[in-house]
Amino acid sequence: MSFEEKGIYTVHEFTLVVKGILTSGQFNDVWIRGEISNFKNHTSGHRYFTLKDKNSSLQCVMFKWHGQNLRFEPEHGMKVLILGDLDIYEQRGQYQLKVRAIRPDGVGELYKAYEQLKNKLAMEGLFSPEHKKTLPRFPKKIGVATSETGAVLHDILTVLKRRYPVNILFIPTMVQGESAANSIVHSIELLNRTDVDLIILGRGGGSLEDLWSFNEEIVARAIFGSKIPIISAVGHETDYTIADFVADVRAPTPSAAAEMAVPDRQELFNQVKRIRELLIERQKLHISDRTLYAAELRKCVDPGLLQERIANYMQYIDDINERKTRCIERIIEVRTSRFRECAGKLDAVSPLGTFSRGYSIAMKLPGKTIVRSINDIEKNDEIQILVNDGKIKCDVNDKEEIKWK
């Protein structure tokens, strides 16, 4: 195919294509062993050097931000292991390694083992947050597994004493040397048979070889298997061991572990004091609230008000009394006048008046029916005549009709 058909790259385009292929992942995160030459610590903070062996050389750059974690300064001729990602320096079309870590090759094998175990355990989930146990807020008894000699135990005890004195169960533990890993495992297992509610696993700083027992798998598994929460405090702040990853909490130093293990007594004093003040404050408020309410109630039962009410009632009673009297008087009055009226009427219709004027009433005997007509009687009937002062018994001799009108 001619170039007309295939097209033409610019240099830069070509470089970018190559870069794309080389940096696609296959050459990321690679460890390379070699010897440093042409080391240059640039004023920009970036480090440039060539890594080489008998037959080849490789351009390397370590940018400032990665170099910050270097625990030693690389030198010309130094045998090292470097960790980095393949990169293309576009301006020169040159491939190079972007270095993230440099380690001395003397312990190169240890590093490899460390990384391998770390990856394996991470895959298994030994470092997962969901397996982390919560530390007791107020531990009653703390198990401390560390060397009987050395400053670590002293540091831990001192800090614990200062912050919050508790019971401590110390178990002498070998933290360096051939049998250290077994000793650590044994201590963790023994402490799990006691009543401690927290374990501090501690060791001072040292080289990678010194700290090695804390990178061993049996230690990692013992920590993971512990039913009691473990704070690991191994080495200095910058040292990370596998134990640190598995432990429930990692402390940068043994003193820091002690600080994490217990609350600060002074702070607790202050907290109790604060709560107490709050308690008193609340109660004061509550009481004043009730007092106000009581005052409010008292206002409702004011003696003045009561008196006024009583006076009111008394007046009402007087009023009623008066009305009652008036009523009775009126009733009597009405009755009296009605009586008089009746008496008058009675007088008017009384036959007694009529008798006195000379009238009399005749009644037929023996029925004493009043005689109103000559038809009421017959000749020889007996009649009685009522007059003003008595009665007269008569026999009827005769009767005659008279037309008065």
């Binding site: 807020r137 198990g143 023994l190 607790l268 109660q283 408020l285 509550h286």
Partner: protein, 81 residues
């Protein structure tokens, strides 16, 4: 069994909360208040009386026992492992 510091502190916090809600009768609140003050005194006493006691764990024939332990002064200045 006597309550530990944590429980006492928690109860103290609960009491303050209850008082804050303020739906209590005066009698109830006085009772709670009194209990709260007692608890705070006990908390203080517990803090004040806390003492460090260090024991060393010893394994003997697969049995565990412990004995009092004190740091020898010279190891304090000893080198750091």
């Amino acid at each position: 069994m006597e309550m530990n510091f944590e429980d006492k502190l928690a109860e103290l916090e609960t009491i303050v909360e209850k008082l804050e809600k303020g739906q209590l009768s005066l009698d109830e609140s006085l009772e709670l208040f009194e209990h709260g003050i007692t608890l705070s005194r006990e908390c203080n006493a517990m803090l004040k009386n806390a003492r460090q006691k260090v024991e060393k764990l010893i394994e003997e024939d697969n049995n565990l026992k412990s004995e009092d332990f004190a740091l020898p002064d010279d190891t304090i200045k000893g080198h750091n492992f």
